[in-house]
Amino acid sequence: MTSVIPPSSGLEDLPPGAGPGAVPAPARRTGRRAVLPTWTPKLAVGLGLVVVIALFGLIGPVFAGNPDTIRNIGLTGPSGDHWLGTTQTGQDVLDQLTHATRGSLQIGLLVGVMATALSAVFGVIGGYVGGIVDEAFSLFSNVVLVIPGLPLVIVISGFVPADQRGSWTIALVLTVTGWAAAARVLRAQTLSLRNRDYVSAARVAGEKPWRVICVEILPNLLPVLASQFVFSVIAAVLSEAGLSFLGLGASNSSTLGTMLYFAQNGFALQREAWWWFVPPGAIIAAFGCGLALVNLSLDEIINPRLRRPGRRRAGRAASVTSRNDAVRSTAV
């Protein structure tokens, strides 16, 4: 994907719409632009995938028919009437797909927001306050991290009766088992931020701790928070699909995982009904892939060394050849 672009074109640095004749973008990216990812093909493809799938889940169900309508044309391939064929009981796969996508995205978003909030509480506050609070918080998140998540989720789901297992229960369980890794990352970042000069200055000026955290530290954590949020959405969509596939998912909502569960139990694989089991997995894969590509762009803000060397050289003034660049140009 990236190999299509000549290595040192430097064009990706330009805002979208700027032609090749335009003046190269200024070297220093200041203010809000510094926290926004650069517009790269990677980011464009990623955002495109995410937006298309989100729209499909958001608007699709409005136009789709009732996904539960049973017809007497079980397991027929794609046709003009049913674009993605039908299931074993003649339900339209495309109709199901729109509702299932919506269900999966809802759970993913819900878990993403809750897990990120939880990890911010434990990671940022612990990292900033330090001392015994930090010890306790990081001990807690490390313990949650090493206890294997899926077996725990399975055991919990085993104890909750199926009729009480709604999508909120599943979202809550996935949040509780999924926030710890992000908290560790946030804590490490906060530790490196809390000793910066401007944070010390704010503290000396008598700012209250919550204000220092909200005004000085959180804005600088935004790229990390965003990337952790994206990670937890991917993880939540994948884990929810896994749980539903095992028959332990939410009983009151239809997700891509439930579709795969019914496809597996309807022997779609053995009957080679690819139109039934390929689309749900493909949507999860495409969505996760889109989010991962967005995350790669976010990573490049957090760790500038990961940026493509060609762009660095083109973006900066040629005379500023830092020590790092010297090493790298011999390395590649």
Binding site: V146, I147, P148, G158, R323, V332
Partner: protein, 329 residues
């Protein structure tokens, strides 16, 4: 020394947390195991009277005449004696025996597959990170796609392709059931043959993560001063890549290996479900389906202890290979 004491202390706390969680989950959840079992019995036409209820309560250890603290301590003392209770679904086998039968399958299959994937990922990541800016960079989007594909879906499709359509591998099971189980060559070779496809799916789905992490660290390491020194000394490229860059870049991956073990175990549940493999993850799901609570809790505990033990081992090793971690603590 302080480093090791700290680590040991941490894992003791984690172990205690897992054990306590295991005790409280059934007591906090809305469902009551005894009620569920009684309902099941009623569906099958069994008699439901207080005596039956009482015996179920005793069997499940859900005897609520004791106080919570008493229950907790008797649970701990049973655990210390290695007594995990009696499995309802494999009655009258003890939970520990049921676990003992299925654990080796999981350890061998998942352990081998994970090690292969880890080694392969590090080797490929070293190469891709070293040759940055060449066509090898196009591997990176590929790994993101692989990481986003749901594991069980990939496994299902590979199974449909390689065993249903092409008939290269057996679709289900861990060994040829017509063979007697034992340490003879026909049985072992059949076990290996049955294990190849599940292992392949695990390697394919997890190698991308290791590759990407290693590649990113290689890129960061390439900017270090000692790399410049190594070049200035005129060392051969290969030697710089392996002895200078890769050895240092691998450190975070080794540390990540410990935390990833939990996910590896989680993946094993899926693997064993898709391939009907006779391991511990499949057993866990069977236990959930059969409302076999003692077995469920026993398996969760064993999995957790295994993950904690492996983590401790990696952590101790890490202290050995990277002296800086010992110094900073």
């Amino acid at each position: 020394m302080r480093y090791y004491a700290r680590k040991l202390g941490f894992y003791l706390v984690a172990l205690w947390a897992a054990v306590t969680l295991n005790f409280f989950i059934p007591r906090m959840m809305p469902g009551n195991p005894v009620d569920i079992l009684m309902a099941k019995l009623q569906q099958r036409g069994g008699t439901v009277d207080p005596a039956v209820r009482r015996s179920y309560e005793l069997l499940l250890g859900a005897d609520h005449s004791d106080s919570l603290a008493q229950q907790y301590f008797s649970y701990l003392s049973h655990l210390l004696h290695g007594d995990l209770g009696v499995s309802v679904s494999a009655y009258p086998a003890k939970v520990s025996d049921v676990i003992g039968q299925s654990l080796p399958w999981t350890i061998v299959l998942i352990g081998m597959a994970t090690l292969i994937s880890f080694a392969l990922g590090l080797a490929l990541g070293t190469l891709v990170g070293w040759k940055r800016g060449t066509w090898l960079d196009s591997v990176i989007p590929g790994t993101t796609v692989l990481a986003a594909v749901p594991y069980f879906w990939l496994a299902l499709i590979l199974a449909a392709l390689l065993s249903s359509t092409l008939q290269w591998f057996p679709l289900l099971g861990g060994y040829d059931v017509s063979l007697a189980m034992g340490w003879n060559w026909p049985f072992i070779s059949s076990a290996i043959y049955h294990g190849i496809l599940p292992a392949l799916t695990i390697v394919i789905s997890s190698v991308g993560g290791w590759l990407l992490g290693m590649r990113n660290m290689m890129v960061s390491t390439a900017a270090e001063d000692y790399m410049l020194t190594a070049r200035a000394k005129g060392l051969r490229n290969r030697r710089i890549m392996i002895r200078y860059a890769a050895r240092n870049a691998a450190l975070p991956s080794v540390a990540g290996f410990a935390t990833s073990l939990g996910f590896v175990v989680s993946g094993s549940v899926m693997t064993e479900q898709v391939f009907s493999y006779p391991g511990i993850g499949g057993r866990l799901l069977q236990a959930v389906e059969n409302n076999d609570y003692a077995l469920m809790q026993g398996i969760f505990l064993v999995i957790t202890v295994a993950v904690l033990g492996a983590n401790l081992l990696v952590d101790l090793l890490y202290g050995l290979i990277d002296p800086r971690t010992r110094a900073s603590n």
